[in-house]
Symmetry: C2
Subunit: 539 residues, 2 copies
């Protein structure tokens, strides 16, 4: 027996047409390099995205061709999100925080045919231009300056585009976007998303029990659009008619707080380090800004300390934690309060929010204690294992590499490299990256747990804990600490915050005070750099 249902493919084009037809008045606000705001509505966006599609076809784009972007968060980047797939192309977001050589390697590996680049990023482009020759470089004049004749001007290209002749026919499994993992180890690896995976992620994530997005929201996207497609948020916002606010290149905490006064968001997304610096700026300048009351802040990319959740709660801002990675589209879990836990205390609520949360309906998640044998660890809140996931928006391979056994289990699940416990309610608590765990005298110490406890000390702005080699114990923890301006604490005072949660042997052997902790391109603590720096230290 066959189902009688239509074989209609899931498609980004359906979402784009929906945006134009149902939400013509919804707003897109972009902050320009001079900090002024530019406004578009969805009717204009719908028109311009389709002009971009026509223009690319006019330039000879063929189905599956990669069009790279090197851009900040703004309306034209959003046009690429939909316009490139509308033409049958694949949008490849280049991460402008990587080393130029690495960007060039990635563009060459993906065989990108065209590049769409912000004029203000041309100096960066020139640093890797010799690593890969794009057939055509299209410059979006983000600054408003005239485009050099050697390049194609984005606005002129759109203005001269032939009339839109309809969307490129496609299967739902055809690619729409690609993104390389920032790769703290090994070469960067490419993940290719499809119409299907992108639509499923948008719809599944928007449910009330996940990130709960609606057309009434205003979303401030601090997460870069070159980082896991801005966590998929632009696709969902277009689908729902949600107002989008793009900060452009202005990611300094003062700038973000200024922008929140001009265009108050109801929903924001970004990594913990951004929100740490925003709350510090906010609290050290009383009365200068207001935090939008009722704001929900989706935080992901690294574990969120409880102290951060409490700091925001004092000002009426709810932190929602999500967990995922480039390989997972990205959201796999979100820390919403489950039905059976509605009556828990505020402290328990904060503790739940500080977990990575509960898996999304289409995602299967397991923890595997010993990566070798594939035996699933119980959901008891104690047993530790590597998170493995499976689902329709999880990558099953890497572009041009195939299924690497280090990254995929024998039965086809993605091995995330994140280590976690899952409690009986299904809340995932990340204890570490596999490579960030500290093995001291045969016992594991969680660097993430130590960091969160140290960051609970009122004088501490940031803390990162790494393993350093030790003759007797194998490895020992070392804590790198950044104090808030004008504040400090002694090692004994810091150890005192650990006393109730950690055995004495788990305490760091030393505290290194620094001006800043090095961060990766995506704003996470760059522990590789710390390890290099302290590798020679005899603990």
């Amino acid at each position: 027996m066959q189902s009688t249902m239509m074989k209609t493919p899931l498609s980004l084009n359906t979402l784009l047409d929906r945006a134009g037809k149902l939400f013509p008045q919804s707003q897109i606000v972009s902050r320009l390099p001079d900090k002024s705001l530019r406004r578009h509505n969805f009717a204009q966006f719908h028109e311009r995205a389709r002009q971009l599609a026509s223009a690319l076809l006019g330039l000879g784009l063929k189905k599956g061709d990669r069009v790279a972007t090197l851009s900040w968060n703004h309306h034209a980047h959003l046009e690429c999100y939909f316009g490139i797939p509308a033409a049958g192309g694949v949008m490849h977001t280049l991460n402008l925080r990587l080393a130029p050589d690495e960007i060039g390697f990635i563009a060459a590996h993906a065989e990108d045919r065209f590049l769409i680049v912000d004029d203000v990023l041309l100096p960066l482009y020139r640093q890797f231009a010799d690593r890969h020759r794009f057939e055509r470089v299209i410059v979006y004049s983000f600054s408003g300056a005239a485009t050099e004749p050697a390049f194609t001007d984005y606005e002129q290209l759109l203005a001269a585009a032939p009339p839109f002749a309809g969307y490129a026919p496609h299967d739902e499994n055809d690619p729409v976007a690609m993104c390389y993992t920032s790769g703290t180890t090994g070469q960067p690896k490419g993940v290719v998303y499809s119409h299907r995976s992108t639509v499923l992620h948008s719809i599944g994530s928007s449910m009330p029990d996940f990130w709960s997005l609606s057309g009434r929201d205003t979303v401030l996207t601090v997460t870069p659009m070159f980082h896991a497609n801005c966590w998929g948020m632009p696709y969902a916002a277009v689908m729902l008619g949600t107002k989008l606010v793009f900060p452009g290149p202005h990611l300094h905490p003062d700038d973000l707080l200024d922008l929140m006064q001009l265009e108050p968001p109801s929903f924001a997304l970004g990594v913990p380090t951004i929100w740490l610096s925003v709350i510090q700026a906010f609290e050290t300048n009383p009365g200068r800004w207001k935090l939008p009351h009722g704001l929900r802040s989706l935080v992901g990319g690294a574990a969120v300390p409880e102290s951060l959740i409490r700091a925001y709660a004092k000002h009426g801002v709810t932190v929602v934690q999500g967990w995922g990675m480039t390989e997972t589209s990205p959201l796999c879990t979100v820390s919403y309060v489950k039905p059976e836990l509605q009556e828990i205390s505020d402290d328990e609520r904060v503790a739940r929010t500080a977990t990575a949360g509960v898996p999304s309906p289409m995602i299967e998640l397991r923890i595997v204690a010993d990566s070798g044998d594939g035996a699933e660890a119980p959901w008891d809140g104690k047993s530790v294992g590597e998170i493995q996931v499976r689902g329709p928006y999880i990558t099953g391979s890497y572009y041009g590499i195939g299924a690497d056994p280090v990254k995929f289990s024998a039965d086809g699940w993605l091995r995330t490299g994140d280590v976690a416990t899952v409690d009986s309610h299904g809340y995932v608590r990340i204890t570490d990256r596999t490579k960030d765990l500290i093995k001291s005298g045969g016992e594991w110490i969680s660097s993430v747990d130590l960091e969160n406890s140290i960051m609970a000390h009122p004088a501490v702005a940031e803390a990162a804990v790494i393993a350093v080699p030790h003759d007797k114990w194998g490895e020992r923890p070392l804590a790198c600490v950044v104090f808030k301006p004008g504040q400090s604490a002694t090692p004994d005072e810091l150890n005192a915050t650990l006393a109730s949660h950690f055995a004495r042997w788990q305490w760091p052997d030393a505290y290194e005070v620094m001006d800043a902790i090095p961060k990766t391109a995506t704003g996470k603590f760059w522990k590789v750099k710390l390890r290099e720096r302290f590798a020679a230290r005899a603990a």
Copy 2:
């Protein structure tokens, strides 16, 4: 270029395992024939649904075999929703409101192999048993009485089931359920849903801008589980851990109000005629019941009069209207308030709620003015046309019939037979079924608009308007009216309610006062019966 995403199929089994693993404590409450309540939690449901799967496989069920249900709304029926597909079977819900011969025809047409039937419905089964021989009849003792030896007892079958050996392998397009349209014209026609269509409907419908379902809700399902799969709600509730309250056979307004006191819902679903009778019972018995404050009531299956929305709003209940049909899984549109309309007046809000609402993200909807040429009518709030829809949970054919050109456009859209306008904001306003429009002197009159205006008169409980043949004008409207107990109104008084919205020539030529308006198996006004009765009348 290929996407690197996993080819994981969408599957009801993933939702079932999720329910067991993440929401073991969530409740299922069923009202028994003696009006007592039976409780299960999701852990038990998860176990029992898989026992049912094992038992069916033990009985020799093969992939794609149909297992019919003839059941009220209760936990065992929910077990069939998931247990039959878990074994690779197709659940076929038989509509117990149909004539026995029609039920027998449908079971034979679907070639149902097994039947699962409530013991209290065996008298009905016996009336059509000669029309189709089921290989085995499994009796669920809903009343608690012992099962006759001629039949298989549902509980004994589950108790004796072999250990669960895993889900039947499947493609996402494999069938999980089938449902026949109640068919006021022609023979009933079967629609076959798939894993894919059911999962997509569940996820898409649960978003905040649609029916906004979460695990914190308690859902009262008045819509029968044999009617378009209870509008797909049981699947979504299982996915999200939402508490389910099943009224069993007790659908009298007094019984529903009693049940709402015992298990207060936050969400209810049913046809307008049910909610009309509930509000009448509630208002004629002041102080006897409370309506749960904050209740959202999803009403569909027929147009909702503004008077009903206002009557419930007075008591803190929000009516949400949806539109769809068996062929569409069913929800295609929901009347939520769009982002650009947040500031409208209460009157406008009611007017919006009285429309069928706005299409869901995965559904494409158009209105076609003349069914012949396929030209799309504009979304101007005035142009009238047949609603046509396309999408991944819309049927593209009927079981054993294929694509009937009367039901599908040449380019593959479903022709719904419903006639509507769509305004510039995308709100669909159903004006009539194609066959219910009245054509008088070459001009169309909407029977639905007349009905809603007549029902706004305080003395009127129900009103149905039909066309009767007329020598001069072709057709003229006739209104059938049921007054509230002890109340009445003259034709002139009723016409006075029409004066501001309708030209005099659009008024009914006559009002027929009745004790009750005949209703179809799904609770809609049965206009075919009214037309038969008044066909001979010379207007």
